[in-house]
Amino acid sequence: MGALRLRRPGSASAWLWLLLGAAYFLIPLVATFLFSIKDKNTGSCCSLSAYSFILDDPEFWRTIKLSFYLALETIAISLLLFVPTVYWVHLKLPRLKPVVGFLALIPFVVPPIILVVGLLDFYRGSPDWFYAKPYGFLVAAYVILAFPYVYFSLDSGFRAIDVHTLTEASLNLGASWPRTMLSVILPNIRAAAVSAAFLTLAIVMGEFTIATLSAFHTFPTYIQYVNETQAYPAAAVSLMSFGITWAAMLAILLIGRRPGARQVQIAGTR
């Protein structure tokens, strides 16, 4: 029976689909790579001039640093806001959990292109240090954008531990609330917090819609600028951007290989 099962019909077509899928996914990546090693001026193979063009461009370093700092700020604010919130919901307000499940749908109904229209309006007239600065306006938008992903990542982390027992044990032993939070709860949800951070990093490093429509120059808008002006360096910088997404998502996958961890899948960079 076992041998028969393995050879049931359709096995050849299964391989065909896998091959087609692999080809469709890999060819654009290979093509981008082949483009990136062409000579910047002559278009002939093979040279690293496209990469050195990007790496020598001060604008590249300025925008990638800006995007990275924005990501760090978004991560810090998100974790500061949501770690205590999720903790409290799990400890005292479990009734709220289904309400929160509804929040998962928000990025679907209000995608970045709608969000940016609303936010530009809502914050119009707010002071310049906020509205005109990426560290203000953009980060506010990114915290909203990242919220569902951060929330669900943390939620699965809290689900995997016994919040009540840990809290009671800590309080009974004489620890204060802040101490309980810092030295009992935080170490236990570290993996969830780290994967939330990487997810946010991937979102912020790739987010184009909100940045360009509110006229800020971040890393994705730099890629778009290179796209419009320089074909071969554009391939190089696109590959670098893919590399950042790869690294962030692989980090999440590696951290997420624990029982009970739920994978959060869709980020909002399209």
Binding site: R5, L6, R7, R8, P9, S13, A14, W15, W17, L18, L20, G21, Y24, F25, I27, P28, A31, T32, L34, F35, L105, F108, V109, V110, P111, I113, I114, V117, G118, L120, D121, G206, E207, F208, T209, T212, L213, P220, I223, Q224, N227, E228, A231, A235, V237, S238, L239, S241, F242, T245, W246, M249, L250, I252, Q263, Q265, I266, A267, T269, R270
Partner: protein, 255 residues
């Protein structure tokens, strides 16, 4: 945004912006193209994603292939926007690798045969790059949920493979598939960056129109962008109203 959709250029309340959504032919066409692109990529993406997911998960396929595909999908579903658009320009653009290959090796210039990457078809091909992996991720748990006992019970009772799929497999997967199609539809419907970078903002879809309004490229009614965004919001909200009950049905078979 909701309030803005109902304001006229001078700030008084009106439903004129919303009426314009139905009357302006450019806007109507934009919604039509948007919905068309989203439908095509959702249905194609779901079909191809399902076939690939099943091929990767079914018994008899080595484990490493399965984990390679799911891991890659986790990453590829997050590719998107500007770099993805460029990857396709490097592949199927006028001097793209595949275009050149077809031209030089087979003497076939796809650009002389009505193909352009910078058109609706091009946008659809590019969107599939994140739609298929997303389908794979969403549908894999449902395929995993098809218990081996069911197929054994079916064949013990004399059912053929076809009968198994017709009466057991497809009916159980159907709510998951429909849910995934809706998710994919919304995913394509809301995408801005990819289409913008690919066509330099030339393709007439709703997010691009909103973008133009926000940038102030078109000096018309400043509230038109709000009305457009409101229209998108309504479409997506309706999708959600179908999606939520579907998810309830899906969870019935979840282990």
């Amino acid at each position: 945004m909701l309030v803005g959709a109902f304001k006229s250029a001078d700030g008084s309340a009106t439903v004129g912006n919303i009426r314009e959504l139905f009357e302006s032919s450019q806007i109507r066409n934009a919604y039509k193209t948007s919905i068309e692109i989203s439908l095509v990529t959702a249905i194609l993406g779901a079909t191809l994603g399902l076939l690939i997911a099943y091929a990767a998960i079914r018994e008899g396929t080595p484990r490493w292939i399965r984990s390679a595909f799911t891991t890659f999908s986790g990453v590829a579903a997050n590719f998107g926007g500007i770099p993805l658009a460029f990857a396709f320009i490097a592949t199927l653009g006028t001097i793209g690798i595949v275009t050149q290959f077809l031209q030089n090796q087979l003497g076939f210039n796809i650009y002389l045969h009505n193909f352009s990457l910078f058109s609706k078809t091009g946008v659809e091909i590019t969107y599939l790059y994140f739609q298929i992996p997303l389908m794979l991720l969403v549908i894999a748990p449902a395929i995993d949920g098809l218990r081996r006992e069911w197929s054994e019970a079916s064949s013990n009772l004399g059912g053929s493979r076809l009968q198994y799929w017709r009466h057991i497999g497809v009916p159980i997967l159907l709510p998951s598939i429909l849910g995934a199609v809706i998710l994919l539809f919304g995913n394509a419907f809301a995408a801005y960056a990819t289409a913008y970078a690919l066509t330099s903002g030339q393709v007439n879809i709703v997010p691009i129109l909103i973008g133009n309004d926000v940038r102030g490229n078109v000096f018309t009614n400043p509230h038109e962008g709000h009305a457009l965004a409101f229209g998108m919001f309504v479409v997506l909200a309706v999708m959600m109203l179908v999606y939520v009950p579907l998810q309830r049905r899906v969870s019935r078979w979840a282990r």
